[in-house]
C-alpha cells in the first residue's frame, strides 16, 4: 500500500526548529497539501520524507516501512521540484527515462513506458529536445512525466506550479489532479498558494513555525478554521477578525462589544457557555456580510472608505471605529465613499475564538 506516515518529526537547524513534532498520515490515493507562509517548515518536512534531510527526531514510514536510515535512492519516491530539476544535458526523453535505469527493463519496455508518460502529459512532440529548448510549462510537464514513469511508493511535489503564469497554472492544476487520481498513491504537495491547496488537496495541513496548526478537508479548513491563524491565512479577501468582549448572553444570542460598538448575533452553544466578560475574537468572512436597510442591534454601522471592483463582485472597505472591515458585495450594489452602511452578518458563518486564539465550537 502506498502510504506516508510521519510520527513526531522534529528537525533542528542549530538552535532553530524548522519542524516541530509533526504527525501526519497520508492514505493511499490521498493528496495532502502542506500549506503555509514561507519558512514555516513545509519544504523541510517534504525533504525529510524524501530523505534529502535527516530528521532530528521522529520516524518516517513510507508504504509501511520505516525509512529513517535509507538513502533517497533506496526509498523509491518520486518528487517534482520547484525548479523542476530537469537534467540539463539529457533530452526530454532521456529525462523521463532516467528513473527507469535501475529497473533493468528491456529497451522496448522502457521506450513504451516513456512514450506512455509522454502521451499522458502531451510531450510526444518534444521528446528529442533539451530542457533548455522547451517552455516553462513543458518543463513542468516533463518533471511530472519523470515522476509518473515508474511505479513509486508515493509522490512529493514541492511548489509544483509556482513558476507558471496564472493561466498555465489553472490548466496544470487540473492536469496534475487528473494524473494523480488515476494512480491511487499517497501524495504530498507543498505550496504557499491557498487556491492550489484548496483545489488539489483531499486534506490540507496548515503549517506555521514548524507546527501543523490544523489538518482537515479544504471545506472544513475554510468553514471551520481551528484557530485565528488558520482563519486569517485561508480565504481571499482575508476574514475579518475582531477582538471583542462577550458582553452578555440571551438564549442563543450573544452580545459582542468592541470599541464603542455592540453586535447581537446568534452563536454556537459553546460560546454561550463562556463566562461573561471573556475576551474573544470573532471572525466573519467578507462574503458573509449583507447590507441591511436600517441600523439595528444586529448590524454594524460604518462609513465606506475604499471601493475595489473585482469583476463579478465588489470589495468594500468599511471604517468602523478603529477597524477596517472588508465586505464583498455583488457588483449590482453601488455605494460611494463616505456612505454609511449597515452590515448584517450571517450567524451560520460566524467563527468565534477564545483568548488563546483557539476556535470555540460545540
Amino acid at each position: 500500500m502506498s502510504t506516508i506516515e510521519l510520527k513526531g518529526i522534529t528537525k533542528l537547524f542549530g538552535a532553530l526548529a524548522a519542524v516541530r513534532d509533526v504527525d501526519l498520515t497520508v492514505a493511499a490515493g490521498e493528496t495532502v497539501c502542506l500549506l503555509g507562509p514561507s519558512g514555516c517548515g513545509k519544504t523541510t518536512t517534504l525533504r525529510i520524507v524524501a530523505g534529502l534531510e535527516q530528521a532530528t527526531a521522529g520516524d518516517v514510514y513510507v508504504a509501511g516501512k520505516r525509512m529513517n536510515d535509507l538513502a533517497p535512492a533506496a526509498r523509491d519516491i518520486a518528487m517534482v521540484f520547484q525548479f523542476y530539476a530537469l537534467y540539463p544535458s539529457l533530452t526530454v526523453a532521456e529525462n523521463i527515462a532516467f528513473p527507469l535505469h535501475y529497473e533493468r527493463l528491456s529497451a522496448a519496455e522502457r521506450e513504451r513506458r516513456v512514450a506512455a508518460a509522454a502521451e499522458t502529459l502531451e510531450l510526444s512532440g518534444i521528446l528529442d529536445r533539451l530542457p533548455g529548448q522547451v517552455s516553462e510549462g513543458e518543463k513542468q510537464r516533463v518533471a511530472v512525466a519523470r515522476a509518473i514513469v515508474r511505479d513509486p511508493n508515493c509522490f512529493l511535489f514541492d511548489e509544483p506550479l509556482s513558476r507558471l503564469d496564472v493561466e498555465l497554472r489553472q490548466t496544470m492544476r487540473g492536469q496534475i489532479k487528473q494524473v494523480l487520481t488515476g494512480l491511487s498513491k499517497a501524495c504530498v504537495i507543498v505550496t504557499h498558494d491557498q487556491l492550489e491547496a484548496l483545489t488539489m488537496a483531499d486534506r490540507i495541513a496548515i503549517m506555521r513555525d514548524g507546527l501543523i496548526e490544523q489538518i482537515a478537508s479544504p471545506h472544513a479548513i475554510f468553514s471551520k478554521p481551528g484557530n485565528v491563524f488558520v482563519a486569517s491565512f485561508i480565504g481571499t479577501p482575508q476574514m475579518n477578525l475582531v477582538e471583542a468582549t462577550l458582553a452578555g448572553v440571551e438564549g442563543v444570542d450573544a452580545t459582542l462589544a468592541f470599541g464603542e460598538h455592540r453586535l447581537k448575533i446568534a452563536v454556537d452553544r459553546a460560546v454561550t457557555a463562556l463566562p461573561k466578560g471573556s475576551k474573544v475574537t470573532f471572525g466573519i468572512r467578507p462574503r458573509a456580510f449583507t447590507l441591511a436597510g436600517a441600523a439595528s442591534e444586529r448590524t454594524i454601522s460604518g462609513a465606506v472608505e475604499i471601493i475595489e471592483p473585482m469583476g463579478a463582485e465588489t470589495l468594500i472597505h468599511i471604517r468602523v471605529g478603529e477597524l477596517d472591515l472588508r465586505v464583498v458585495v455583488p457588483r449590482e450594489i453601488r455605494v460611494r465613499p463616505g456612505h454609511v452602511v449597515h452590515l448584517a452578518a450571517d450567524p451560520s458563518q460566524l467563527n468565534m475564538f477564545d483568548a488563546s486564539g483557539k476556535a470555540v465550537r460545540s
Binding site: A50, L52, M79, F81, A85, Y87, S89, R146
Partner: protein
C-alpha cells in the same frame, strides 16, 4: 524601442535617438578595437614575419615589411650546421616538440582528472575546515616559483625523479592542480543542487550523479580550465630548465639554448621555433573557444 518613437501628438517633434541593437558597434568603435588588437598582436606578427626572413633581412635596419619569404629557418629548426661550413646535424627539435606536447598534455589531463574529482568533493562533501584546505592547496601558487625551486630540486634529487618524464609530469600536474581545483569547484558550486537531489531520488548512486548529471554540466568549465592549464604548462621555463634532462627537454628550454653560437643570435631561427611553438596553442584555443567563452562567463549568464 517602441516607447522612444511614441511621442505625444501635441508636443513638438524631437529627435529620437534610435539605439543600435547588440552586435552593431559602429565604425568608430570597430576601428578603435582594431587598432588596439593590432598593438596586442604586433609582437606575434613580428615573430611570424621574422620566421620567414633570411638572416640579413631579419637584422635589417629599418625593419623590412616587404621581403622575399624563405623557409630556410624552418628547415634549420630540425637540422642545421653548428659552425660555418660544417655539415647539417639533427637538432633533436622533433623530440623537444614531442616532449612539450606529451608533458603538457599528460600533466594537464592528470590535473583535470584529479582536480575535477577533488573539486566535486570540496563542493559537495565539504571537510571540516573546508576553506582551510582550499587555502593550503593554493598557497604554493602564492609565491614566485623561484622561492620553492631549491626544496623541489632536493626532493627530485633524493627521489631520483630529476630528468625523467614521470618527474616533470608529476611536477606540472601538482602545479596545475590548485588552479584546476579552484576553477572546477566554482563551476560545481554553480550547479543546482535540486538536480542532483532529483537524480538521487530517481535511484542514482553518487557515482552516477557525478558522471551522468554533474560532469556533463561542467564540460565548458573543463575546457576553459584545460586551455589555461595548457598555456601555463606549455610556456613554463624555469622548472623545465632545472629539472628536465637531455631526453626530456621541452621546447622553451631548447629554444633558450639556441641563442648563442659563433655567428651571433639567429633571430630568424628563433622566430621559426616560436612560430611552430605557437601552433598547438592556437589550435587548442581555436577548437575550444566556444566552450572557453561559455566557461569563463559561466556564473554571469545563468538563469
Amino acid at each position: 524601442m517602441a516607447d522612444t518613437t511614441a511621442t505625444p501628438a501635441h508636443s513638438a517633434p524631437r529627435r529620437v535617438r534610435i539605439s543600435r541593437g547588440v552586435g552593431e558597434a559602429g565604425w568608430g568603435r570597430t576601428l578603435a578595437a582594431t587598432i588596439i588588437s593590432l598593438i596586442y598582436f604586433f609582437p606575434v606578427l613580428w615573430i611570424i614575419l621574422t620566421a620567414f626572413k633570411s638572416y640579413g633581412d631579419a637584422l635589417a635596419v629599418p625593419p623590412k615589411f616587404i621581403f622575399t619569404p624563405t623557409l630556410d629557418n624552418f628547415v634549420s629548426v630540425f637540422s642545421r650546421a653548428y659552425s660555418a661550413g660544417g655539415s647539417a646535424v639533427d637538432t633533436n627539435f622533433d623530440l623537444f616538440f614531442f616532449n612539450s606536447i606529451f608533458i603538457a598534455g599528460t600533466s594537464v589531463f592528470l590535473a583535470l582528472v584529479i582536480g575535477t574529482l577533488a573539486a566535486f568533493g570540496f563542493s559537495r562533501y565539504p571537510l571540516k575546515g573546508n576553506e582551510t584546505y582550499l587555502f593550503i592547496i593554493l598557497s604554493t601558487r602564492m609565491l614566485p616559483a623561484i622561492v620553492v625551486i631549491i626544496p623541489i630540486i632536493v626532493m627530485f634529487r633524493v627521489t631520483g625523479l630529476a630528468g625523467t618524464y614521470i618527474g616533470i609530469i608529476l611536477l606540472y600536474t601538482a602545479f596545475n592542480l590548485p588552479f584546476t581545483v579552484w576553477m572546477m569547484k566554482s563551476f560545481f558550486d554553480e550547479l543546482s543542487p535540486d538536480v542532483e537531489d532529483a537524480a538521487r531520488l530517481d535511484g542514482s548512486s553518487d557515482i552516477r550523479v557525478f558522471f551522468k548529471i554533474c560532469l556533463p554540466q561542467v564540460l565548458a568549465g573543463i575546457a576553459a580550465t584545460a586551455v589555461f592549464g595548457l598555456i601555463l604548462t606549455w610556456n613554463e621555463y624555469l622548472f623545465a630548465l632545472l629539472l628536465s634532462g637531455v631526453e626530456t627537454r621541452t621546447v622553451p628550454v631548447a629554444m633558450a639554448q639556441t641563442i648563442g653560437g659563433d655567428i651571433g643570435v639567429r633571430w630568424g631561427l628563433l622566430a621559426a621555433i616560436e612560430t611552430l611553438f605557437l601552433i598547438p596553442v592556437i589550435l587548442v584555443t581555436f577548437f575550444l573557444q566556444n566552450h572557453l567563452l561559455r566557461g569563463v562567463t559561466f556564473g554571469t549568464i545563468k538563469r
